[in-house]
């Protein structure tokens, strides 16, 4: 899978180092499908999460990220508090219709490739808040990859959801460069 220097130099135009890297990657994928798997492997163990915490599930989020349950074992322990540096959106808590435009905007500011987890039953389906103010699930606002039910979910469930997302990332195809 290693692309040697000569093939790079032979290509028509090299504008920037980023172009060179992309060309190298595309070529590597064409030569060997395992490259995709290697990239996916790298992605799934270095998830940078953006915690969009709106409600009490935030406490369980903190618990899952604290040393007792230690989510860093799965390579997702670094929260980024700007969406531009994150590739995983944790939607932790109830999403109201007043909150929805903010959530949409945060999601649009994140760079590809990106994933979203609905943490808790409110973010998944609206929970028991079937009323005038609450969106019936964050998937009405943005696409969701993994739903973690529970009110609130236990940290084991959170870790299980994260592992499910990692398995999903590992199987992804054709999402190398955007």
């Amino acid at each position: 899978m290693a692309a040697d220097e000569t093939t790079l130099l032979k290509s028509d135009v090299i504008v920037t180092r980023a172009d060179a890297a992309e060309g190298w990657l595309r070529e590597a994928i064409e030569k060997s499908p395992t490259t995709q798997q290697v990239v996916n492997w790298g992605r799934k163990y270095s998830l940078f999460g953006y915690p969009f915490v709106t409600a009490c599930c935030g406490m369980e989020y903190m618990s899952a990220f604290s040393p007792r349950y230690d989510i860093s074992r799965f390579g997702a322990e670094i929260p980024r508090f700007t969406p531009r540096q994150a590739d995983l959106l944790w939607i932790v808590g109830t999403i109201t219709h007043k909150q929805a435009p903010i959530l949409r905007r945060v999601w649009e500011q994140m760079l590809e490739p990106k994933w979203a987890i609905a943490f808790g039953v409110c973010a998944s389906t609206g929970g028991f808040y079937d009323n005038y103010s609450v969106a019936q699930g964050a998937d009405q606002i943005i696409p969701i990859d993994i739903y973690i039910p529970g009110c609130p979910p236990r940290p084991e469930q959170v870790l299980d959801g994260l592992v499910m997302l990692q398995n999903k990332i590992q199987k992804e195809k054709g999402r190398m460069m955007v």
């Binding site: 007043k98 009323n131 103010s133 969106a135």
Partner: protein, 178 residues
Amino acid sequence: MAKVVLERLRRKFGDAIVETSSELGDDCAVVAREKLGEVAEFLRDDRELAFDMPIDCTALDWFQKREVRFDVVWHLYSMTKKHRLRLKVRVAEDDPTVPSLTPVWRGMNWHERETWDMYGIRFTGHPDLKRILLYEEFVGHPLRKDYPIDRRQPLIPLRKVKDVPTAKNPPKSRLNQP
């Protein structure tokens, strides 16, 4: 202790106090709408009563159960005398207007805004009567009993989500399958 407050109110204002009750240690006085401002100032300034702390303002909707539809309720507390009082004013549906008590107790400001937001009670003399919890685009007042229970007013168009379990289309449980 408890009877002192109501007794003093009745002696001072007579007919302006429409009704009083004292159940389970909770004193309640129903006041005529025109006299509310005077009563409130008396409650605050009188040395025996000294209600110096606004606790809450809310409303009750007796939709189709009573001739006069709304009760507007204020809760008061005296930190020096350690007693409480509940003030009520009855207002009809076609004119849901009461004098604001924000000029008397500044702490009533947000409580009265919430009551406007949820019940549509107009407080005359309030310095900044606008919605406090819901968004300005919201139409109607959701805690009124005639607000449709399933009406949603999203700010942004919602995504179509497949396979949303409803009462008519219940989710398939893995437990029930043979």
